[in-house]
Amino acid sequence: MENCPCIEAAGPINKTSFILAWSPVLKLIAENLTIDRGGRRVFQDLSFTLDQGTALVVTGANGIGKSSLLRTLAGLVSLAGGDIRLEGGQADRLPFEQTHYFGHQDAVKPALSVLENLTFWRSFSAATPADVFAGKTVAPLEALELLGIAHTAHLPAAYLSAGQKRRLSLSRLLVTPRPIWLMDEPTSALDKASEKQLLDLMNGHLASGGLIVTATHTDLALDTTSILHMRTPDPSEIAPQEMLS
């Protein structure tokens, strides 16, 4: 935080709703992140610290690098410089292995049934519960019930609508406990009711001591948020700078 001139620290906005935030143990620290994609610098020297129980809402214009930032945190884009650390997590796991990525693609196999899709991810993704993160494991059927697609459990996933696929993809986050959720446009393809459900789940995750980084254009009514606004401050500069507001 100190070593980056373009970013100011922003604490949790609403501290009363979350007691653990006073003594954060899990901490996601990104220092001087610099990313090149396709020979073009997407952003440089982006730093932030995210405390336990806080959601970081990344905003900014299209193409500014929000998805790139999330994919970097997910370990899918290699860093040209900088460092990502998770303090208080499992020491023998990399930060992205303690992370759920909920991106634009649903990773749903149409040839498998809804339940088969979900049980595969439950067994395949390693659960990385941290001592200080109280996230509980939900059974696959329960997770489907929670998201209102339990009646489709034994149907091939090919028959699901876009929104239902999205919800199936979301249920993946519930069956394996991991402290960090990266959510790229989480509300896309969801109706109003599911949006409300999504917010409840996200707030639940924060309340149990998780962290969320989300890129979004809609206002999400989350309990404790910091905002990271990415923008190009000066057209003469090549790299967009980032501001916390």
Binding site: R37, R71, A74, G75, L76, V77, S78, R93, F96, E97, Q98, T99, Y101, G103, H104, Q105, D106, A107, V108, K109, A111, L112, E116, T119, F120, W121, S123, F124, S125, A126, T128, R172
Partner: protein, 223 residues
């Protein structure tokens, strides 16, 4: 610990069985290659019997190449590959298991079909057995080497042809020792075991090099 490996294997097997007769397409292609050659070579039964093992091996190699491009591409297109990279499982092992499932779904049917197709080529029962045995030992190597090509071309829309160009040169040693082992079984003075053991060694080497190289390529492709 091994629970996830078994689940991954079963899932991949289920997918290849449900999605579209990958086993059947491979076997049909194998059949097409093997039946076309006698028409080209002409009705010389002795010649056919002599080159039969080679034809079966080349047919199996081409049929193996057929389905390889989808091994990782299907997972990349729907975002599954991203999640696999983040799953916290050793990627080399994931690749090995995926290759194993792919071989069971596409390579094993070729091995099973080989004795039947050997009849078309006027092979003796002993030669049939020898070719089938060498294919059983050698086709896993083809799949594992092919996985390197599959992961290198994973981001290309039409990577199939490039994959074949990449993989075929690497598969030549397997072809040489597979065919020479099968030939050795038919022609008495040459020992069968020497080329066969080298073939087995090639498969074991491919089982190490293939997953490691393939995992490296997949990590790179996620960007």
């Amino acid at each position: 610990m091994t629970g996830w490996a078994l689940d991954l294997f079963q899932r991949d097997l289920k997918l290849s069985v449900r999605i579209g007769g990958s086993a059947l397409v491979g076997v049909l292609f194998f059949l097409a290659v093997v039946t076309v050659i006698p028409f080209g070579v002409g009705p010389d039964l002795n010649l056919l019997a002599r080159i039969g093992p080679a034809i079966l091996w080349i047919g199996a190699l081409l049929a193996t190449l057929l389905g390889l491009d989808r091994v990782f591409q299907a997972d990349r297109e729907d975002g599954t590959l991203d999640l696999m990279l983040m799953a916290g499982r050793p990627l080399e092992l994931v690749v090995l298991i995926k290759c194993l499932a792919h071989w069971v779904a596409t390579g094993l049917p070729l091995v099973i079909a080989a004795p039947l197709l050997a009849i078309f080529l006027n092979l003796e029962p002993l030669a049939m057995g020898a070719v089938t045995l060498t294919l059983l030992a050698g086709t896993p190597a083809l799949t594992l080497i092919g996985a390197i090509g599959a992961s290198l071309t994973v981001s290309l829309r039409r990577g199939g042809l490039l994959l074949a160009v990449l993989v075929v040169p690497l598969a030549i040693p397997v072809l040489i020792f597979g065919v020479s082992a099968a030939d050795a079984a038919i022609h008495d003075p040459v020992p069968f075991l020497t080329p066969f053991l080298i073939l087995c060694a090639l498969t074991l080497i491919a089982a190490v090099v293939g997953p490691v190289a393939s995992a490296m390529a997949l990590r790179f492709s996620a960007d």
